[in-house]
Symmetry: C2
Subunit: 343 residues, 2 copies
């Protein structure tokens, strides 16, 4: 059984101003998830103490397996919808908790909403009590089906309050409001990242998002499923770039840093182009099949990252083809591991 | 002391299909507030049993004083953010709880948000347990600063997640999402009214909204305060019309009645026109003074009520001038009562 995928593919992080993290305690809610697990590892590498909190609804122990024995790492299985006492001083909080792919967050929409709203408020209260700085993993979904492209932070979005994506979209919007008020009224030190589509190692092969679907299908010799005509566009950010952005935002200290910051890769590709690139990178002979577009699926999403560039000096660096090439071996190892577990 | 204002000015309700209410128990959260108190009285008049739940944060006992001794009326002072047991079967729930004017809901934005989100979820859970039908008092604020006019229910709105109005606007949006999911996933029988600007007896003279401000200023001989240049427009619905709309929506049974319905008066007036009409109706010699427009104040808001007309056969009937004439004596009595109390 190969348990080393979370090491091999997560070592490309660029230099970020993370002097603030060493020797401090960092609580990472959703730390066993895709992005959260990268944050856990990076913080351990930086000499921070990490408290990983996850209810494992979509987080996976495999993502943090190699960290469990580290003396600076502690795992707490807990649902943040219930208040909790971390049992030690906390200096920084990353709120990465929530199912993030539509098939996962739609399994139990009310739980998704509660995680994003009540869970966020519980972490904000913890930050208030402890004086910790807290970063919210917000999302491009707050823009909904955008009428402008690219989307800058001032765009107020086009979101349905009542629809299959609302539990996540409105939950994330409401969480931003809570962050704003805990900052304005209670002096909590906040950061809000609006995260666009991200891919890379530690994604759940089964999470139902387009990059994982395509790579898994390509590696399994199945046809790649395209919803609609494949002309809808997406931007795809490699995980190392995104994690570097999150850490830069957290440990940066200048400017109006308490306002939302888009993080993502502005390169724009149609879903069909992505499918073709995956086929090339994996050397797969799979074909493409079409299915109906799900309700409320956005047709376009692309970040305007001017603010991140100016405020943080951050830009993504990994081209899509290179990122896919770095990601495919991870999924190949996962498929092998799952086949082994299943045999 | 004149305690009869809540009787004298609330008897103009038109015929609505309310046969469903007689003999049933109706829980009215926020029942001591402006709209809630009218619903309490109408239901008592219809032969329903009324459980009025209010934490009196902005609700006022004066609004329900004459109902307190009625055998079918029960008042429970309670904040719906904390779950509660009504102690008897409940058949219908109106969720009218929340401060509704910006100066009031901005006093404690986090409490406002919690009332709208956690409070709504508590009432939805109560509806789920008891099988009650539940109506949400949503708001035109879910449209934010609209880019289209008039606003139909399909318009997704233009709301800031982070700003002084967000605690109310995003709280109300999030509540709609909860209603949607409790209906879709848990079979709760829901109604969602998006209520536009309403005025009439039982408004708090001190609530800071434009109609109450103007009438109180006119009656007190003070100049009427106009924010900005007064060219921003509003639609104003007389309370009897609005309450008839709410009751029709609640007790109607046909069509896609679980989707949001705008309720309001599409007549459009500038704030300056309203001021001039108030001066005429009250015979006041007050003048007008200008102040800076508050941040995030919408410049236009007007309901498209086609859906209410087609689905419910509902249209507002009271012209603004007539409604103001019906409202001014209430405020005059309130001012007299307050002067008496203060003396």
């Amino acid at each position: 059984m190969n348990r080393t995928t979370d090491v091999e593919f997560t070592t490309r992080l660029r230099a970020v101003p993370t002097q603030g993290a060493a020797g401090r305690t960092v609580l990472i809610a959703g730390g066993a998830g895709f992005l959260g697990s990268h944050l856990c590892r990076q913080h351990i590498d930086l000499g921070a103490r990490v408290l990983c909190v996850d209810n494992l609804s979509t987080g996976r122990m495999a993502n943090i397996a190699l960290l469990l024995d580290h003396p600076s790492f502690r795992f707490l299985r807990h649902d943040i919808v219930t208040p909790f006492d971390p049992g030690e001083p906390v200096h920084f909080i990353f709120n990465m908790a929530s199912p993030a792919s539509p098939p996962k967050y739609q399994i139990d929409p009310i739980a998704t909403f509660e995680t994003n709203v009540i869970g966020s408020e519980n972490l904000l209260k913890l930050a208030e009590r402890t004086g910790a700085r807290i970063l919210q993993a917000s999302t491009s979904e707050v823009y909904g089906e955008p009428e402008v492209t690219p989307q800058a932070e001032g765009y107020r979005g086009n979101v349905q309050t009542m629809g299959p994506r609302a539990c996540y979209d409105e939950g994330k919007r409401a969480a931003e409001t809570l962050f704003y008020e805990f900052h304005a009224r209670r002096g909590v030190d906040i950061r809000v990242a609006r995260i666009f589509n991200t891919y890379g190692p530690n994604m759940d092969p089964d999470d139902g998002r387009v990059v994982s679907n395509f790579i898994v299908q390509a590696l399994s010799g199945e046809d790649l499923t395209i919803y609609g005509d494949g002309s809808q566009t997406r931007s795809f950010c490699y995980v190392d770039d995104l994690v570097a952005g999150l850490m830069t935002l957290m440990y940066h200290d200048e400017g109006d840093i308490d306002r939302p910051v888009n993080l993502g890769n502005p390169g724009e590709f149609t879903v069909r182009e992505l499918a073709e690139m995956v086929l090339k990178v994996t050397g797969s002979r799979s074909g493409l099949v079409s299915r109906d577009l799900p309700a409320d699926d956005p047709t376009q999403r692309r970040p305007d990252i001017d603010r991140a560039r100016k405020l943080l000096g951050w830009v993504p660096k990994v081209p899509l083809r290179e990122g896919l090439a770095l990601t495919a071996p991870y999924f190949a190892a996962e498929l092998k591991r799952n086949a082994h577990v299943g045999s």
